[in-house]
Amino acid sequence: MIKAVMVMNTQGKPRLAKFFDYLPVEKQQELIRRVFGVLCSRPENVSNFIEAELVRLQDSRLVYNHFATLYFVVVFDSSENELAMLDLIQLLGQQTLERCFKNVCELDIVFNYSKIHTILDEIILGGQVLETRSTEIMRAVEEISKLEAATNAISFIPKSASSWLSR
């Protein structure tokens, strides 16, 4: 099963953390720090896998990918396929988020926290990959978005966060 999905920026700040097995907050933080420590020491153009021993995890594997200023990390156990997990990141990071936010950037993830969690909940449930059709994921997200739009008339947020806070 998938144990956790983490998104952090290249400075090591967590942007999203979803743990499918409960971990106390301190442990989560520790893990994120360790993972980042390993990630930033990895050279370019190497494999996308990390030995779980490096981050002191038992019976786990880690796959990460790098989009723009973000690291996407998936932690899972031996019952998942590494390459498939890499594709899952692709699916999450590139396809779905791109579709949702046109040009995905770090702040989109922070500001749309609940939306991203919704997306993740669609794809992964109880640590298992449940849905990989991005059309289906989008449909589910839009259904909720419609509801949101109906209840919230006003948006206080400028059109694009990235336009005024470019990184």
């Binding site: 999203l16 953390a17 499918f20 409960y22 907050v25 301190e26 990895r42 050279p43 153009n45 190497v46 494999s47 996308n48 896998f49 990390i50 030995e51 021993e53 490096l54 019952s79 396929n81 590494e82 390459l83 498939a84 890499l86 594709d87 699916l91 949702c100 936010f101 989109d108 922070v110 500001f111 749309n112 926290y113 609940s114 939306k115 969690h117 919704t118 909940d121 449930l125 109880g126 298992q128 990959v129 449940l130 990989t132 059709r133 059309t135 997200v141 839009e142 909720i144 978005s145 509801l147 949101e148 739009a149 209840t151 948006s155 206080f156 947020i157 059109k159 990235s162 806070l165 990184r167």
Partner: protein, 956 residues
């Protein structure tokens, strides 16, 4: 952003995120977050906060908690939000609680009711949200509260709901299999769901179920194969395609399941060959996900019953992976290769170069994976290359955790496959030098023992060559600054033991070096202690050789320092050294014999030399010692009677013998139990115990035994409340022998029981043993798949050719190497030691009874008895002799055996008697084997260098 759904966010939140993003330091960030927490705390508890505001606060709380700060004050508000009627607020509430709470949190109880209600909602979105929460928050105790609704939802018209309901049920299964055991059939049913998504979801629980119990799902093989076939043939809707692959995640899950079902099952595997072959062909190896499926195919092929054609396809795929430029694919290739070589070892050869390339790769992950593969591939022909590489890598890395692991692997491989002693010592030196503080101390002990014992060859010159080369290399290494403590201990020991042995180096040179070590590492007391002892040995050898001892001035000052040391251990050693130097050659020779590290030190654990003293004291009226085990246990006497009954009924032969003791026991019980109520708890458990013991021990009924029993009980009776069986010790020498035996048996009453059973089963065992031997042979000699095993087998067979050796440790080496063999029962032991002894043991008992008064024979019989227990007990560690007290049975083993060790005559007698009795003995030189057996046990050496299990604790 926000453009699409208009997820509501305020300016404040934006500012918060912005300022955190711009924070220059962790402290600054913390300050910002803490003030945010203050704000939130205030606002959130204000009455009449509008819902949408509240929603935002909760999201901000989630964010704050993700940054690692405590947001527990807001949990209750998140819980409240789940009760809300509007879907949006409810969603946020559920999201927050799933992130905040774990299943055992106190607040969960407040949510269960809401979840129950929401699961019944008409709006499927509400149901979905509730199901998400169910997956995360319901624990074992609350499962029954929602289970009925979940089961109902399995038939929900919306596929998204069905899918999630299955996952919820699966989570329940994970958390408490028993709670849903009656619902497991639902997973099978849902496998036929007409929605592929739901079908795919059921594969997850089925995978788990099949992992736990393969056999009850064998009937599904056909279904899985046909589903996989349909998927591979693109019968699913186009929407399930992903990068032009049809439903790859479903394919992967199915292949994993098939791998489980086909493992070791030829019939089931045959059903799979076609479809797996199809997928091999159809897979698009240009996309990542295509390769994922390919990799899964390889895993499947290497797990199911082997098929040559598929193995070929798998090998092709692996070579494509390894040749690829992508590191990911190389990594997968190495992993797949590791799986496939278990079945067809020859394919590794083709890829040697590619594997070596991966070793050179800058990617650390890939490198480690490759070392793992190499570790699996190591055999005696390639061990040098591989271990050298490993050591180089070990030196280059900084991560202590991994360094430890790789060091222990080096040691393990070197011990298993070392081509020569020289190489072994050099390798160990390197490991110690670079990772000395990380390796287990046992490794050092092993190395010392190896140097002391040699490699078990009869060739003494080779051994001494080994030692002098070790000495030489250590003298050289001592030039290096900063050596690890463990390594220094080894060096000191070897220098002390063998530094002057070959006459190449003078005593003053070696002692000078040792003093240097003690000075240079003055804060390491263990090293200093080793150095002092080494000095003592060198001086002792010098004195014994009749040379004048001339203590170096630095040695003198060192001694002065140690004599006043705070460490009592160091002080003691220094005083000992001083004392030794003052002795004459003859005395020194006997306390510090040269090259005697392998000789046995006799430890009289029974402290028999104190017997006279004890007797004297008892005569003066002192209280005798009562063993602790017999002091407090208020043993249930009826229990013993029951046991006696049981014994009697199970072994017809002994039936008569038990009649007497039973009566005596009964006769004694009333006073005993009475006494126990009268608060004299200490001694009386002894009586039942003793009577029990005596009944079991002289198992073959004899009048002598029973009369003796009566006698003894009477004696006890007289000395009411005081005496145990010890007083009888004072009667005469021969009887004391007997009682000692009796005690032995009592203490090891378990072993005694098992032994008697064993003797009864002995015939059966003899019948089985050829079968076991066959198994051993097939594992060793046959076309075995793993080199490692066959190599060890080869090793173990080698030393067994010369069986009897004057040098005890060598035979211990044999045992050690035998222990490595994959079959638990060491074949050699099976061959001569064990079966013969077993068959003789029962027939020897009468001897014992008849000749019980003769001292030597008693010893022999007991020795034989002990060798029969050998199968059960393991001989204690040599180091353990000093550090730990071996428990129970072997305790006594070593006692009596050590008493025996110096009388080869008795041994001979034992051997011949067994020869006479055991006519069905298999081995021609039974005597030798027996002797050897005794020697081995007497040595008390455990599996040494050759045992792969030794490093389990290191590998974690």
């Amino acid at each position: 952003m926000g453009s699409q759904g208009g997820f509501y966010q305020s300016k404040e939140f934006l500012d918060l995120v912005k300022s955190i993003g711009e924070a220059r330091s962790k402290a600054e960030e913390d300050r910002i977050v803490l003030s945010e927490i203050e704000t939130l705390k205030r606002r959130i508890s204000e009455p009449d906060t509008p819902k949408r505001k509240m929603k935002e606060y909760i999201i901000r709380l989630v964010y704050v908690e993700m940054l690692g700060h405590d947001a527990s004050f807001g949990y209750i508000h998140a819980v409240k939000m789940t009760h809300d009627d509007t879907l949006l607020v409810k969603r946020t509430g559920y999201l927050a609680v799933t992130l905040f709470l774990n299943e055992d949190h106190d607040l969960i109880i407040l949510i269960v009711n809401t979840i129950q209600k929401d699961l019944k909602s008409d709006n499927y979105l509400v149901v979905c949200v509730a199901l998400n929460a169910v997956c995360k928050l319901i624990n074992e105790e609350t499962i029954p509260a929602v289970l009925p609704q979940i089961v109902e939802l399995l038939a929900h018209p919306k596929e998204a709901v069905r899918k999630k309901a299955i996952m919820a049920l699966y989570r329940f299964y994970q958390k408490s299999p028993s709670s849903v055991s009656h619902l497991v059939s639902n997973f099978r049913k849902r496998l036929c769901d007409n929605d592929p998504g739901v079908m795919g979801a059921t594969l997850c629980p089925l995978f788990d179920l099949i992992t736990n119990d393969v056999n009850s799902y064998k009937d599904l093989v056909i279904s899985f194969v046909s589903i996989l076939k349909q998927v591979a043939e693109r019968r699913l809707p186009k929407a399930y395609d992903y990068h032009q692959m049809p439903a790859p995640f479903i394919q992967i899950k199915l292949l994993k399941i098939l791998a489980l079902l086909g493992s070791g099952d030829k019939q089931a595997s045959e059903n799979m060959y076609t479809v797996v072959g199809d997928i091999f062909r159809k897979c698009d190896s240009s996309s990542n996900i295509g390769n994922a499926v390919l990799y899964e195919c390889i895993c499947c092929v290497s797990s199911i019953y082997p098929n040559p054609k598929l193995l070929e396809s798998a090998a092709d795929a692996i070579s494509r992976f390894l040749k690829s430029d992508s590191h990911n694919l190389k990594y997968m290739g190495i992993d797949a290769l590791g799986r496939l070589i278990k079945i067809s070892p020859e394919i590794a050869e083709q890829h040697q170069l590619a594997v070596i390339d991966c070793l050179e790769d800058p990617d650390d992950t890939l490198k480690r994976k490759t070392f793992e593969l190499l570790y699996k591939m190591t055999k005696s022909t390639n061990v040098e290359v591989i271990v050298d590489r490993m050591i180089d890598y070990m030196i280059s890395i900084n991560d202590n955790h991994y360094k430890t692991e790789i060091a222990s692997r080096c040691v393990e491989l070197a011990e298993q496959f070392a081509p020569s002693n020289q190489w072994f010592i050099q390798t160990m030196n390197k490991v110690f030098e670079h990772a000395g503080d990380l390796v287990n101390i046992k490794v050092a002990h092993n190395l010392m023992r190896l140097i002391a014992e040699g490699f078990g060859e009869d060739d003494n010159t080779a051994d001494s060559q080994l030692r002098s080369s070790a000495v030489e290399s250590y003298l050289y290494i001592l030039g290096e600054p900063k050596l690890p403590s463990v390594f220094l201990q080894v060096i000191c020991w070897v220098l002390g033991e063998y530094g002057t042995a070959d006459g190449k180096y003078s005593a003053s040179y070696i002692t000078g070096k040792l003093c240097d070590v003690a000075e240079a590492y003055s804060n390491d007391e263990t090293v200093k202690a080793y150095a002092v002892t080494a000095l003592m040995k060198i001086y002792a050898f010098e004195i014994a050789a009749g040379r004048m001892v001339d203590m170096l001035p630095e040695c003198h000052s060192l001694m002065e320092e140690f004599l006043a040391s705070h460490s009592t251990d160091l002080q003691q050693r220094a005083y000992e050294l001083q004392a030794v130097i003052g002795l004459d050659a003859h005395a020194v020779e006997s306390i510090m014999p040269s090259d005697a590290s392998c000789e046995d030190i006799e430890v009289d654990k029974a402290l028999s030399f104190l017997n006279g003293y004890i007797q004297e004291s008892i005569e003066k009226g002192a209280q005798p010692y009562i063993p602790e085990s017999e002091r407090s246990g208020m043993l249930n006497i009826s229990n013993f009677r029951n046991q006696d009954h049981h014994e009697a009924s199970s072994h017809g032969l002994r039936f008569e013998a038990y009649e007497l003791p039973k009566q005596t026991v009964q006769a004694r019980i009333p006073p005993a139990s009475l006494a126990s109520t009268e608060l004299v708890p200490v001694p009386e458990p002894v009586y039942p115990r003793e009577s029990y013991q005596t009944t079991t021990v002289p198992s073959v009924s004899s009048d002598a035994a029973s009369t003796e029993l009566k006698l003894r009980l009477d004696g006890v009776q007289k000395k009411w409340g005081r005496q145990t069986h010890f007083p009888s010790t004072s009667t005469s020498n021969s009887t004391s022998q007997k009682t000692v035996n009796g005690i032995t048996q009592v203490d090891g009453s378990n072993t005694a029981n098992s032994r008697t059973r064993e003797t009864y089963d002995s015939r059966k065992q003899v019948e089985i043993s050829p079968e076991k031997q066959k198994l051993a042979a097939s594992l060793f000699g046959g076309p075995s798949k793993t080199e490692k095993k066959s190599a060890t087998g080869h090793k173990s067979s080698k030393p067994s050719s010369h069986m009897v050796k004057s040098h005890a440790p060598k035979s211990s080496m044999e045992v050690a190497s035998e222990k490595t063999s994959p079959v638990q029962q060491p074949p050699d032991l099976l061959d001569f030691g064990e079966p013969t002894v077993k068959s003789t043991a029962p027939s020897l008992d009468p001897f014992k009874d008849l000749e019980g008064l003769l001292e030597p024979t008693t010893q022999v019989s007991s020795a034989v008895n002990h060798s029969s227990t050998a199968a059960v007990t393991k001989s204690p560690d040599i180091m353990g002799l000093y550090t730990e007290t071996p428990a129970g049975a072997h305790h006594k083993d070593s006692d009596i055996l050590s008493g025996l060790s110096n009388s080869p005559m008795t041994n001979m007698v034992g051997g011949t008697t067994t020869m006479q009795v055991a006519q069905s003995s298999k081995s021609p030189n039974l005597k030798d084997s027996l002797e050897k057996d005794a020697l081995v046990r007497q040595m008390g050496v455990t599996p040494s260098s050759q045992n792969p299990n030794l490093f389990k604790d290191l590998l974690g």
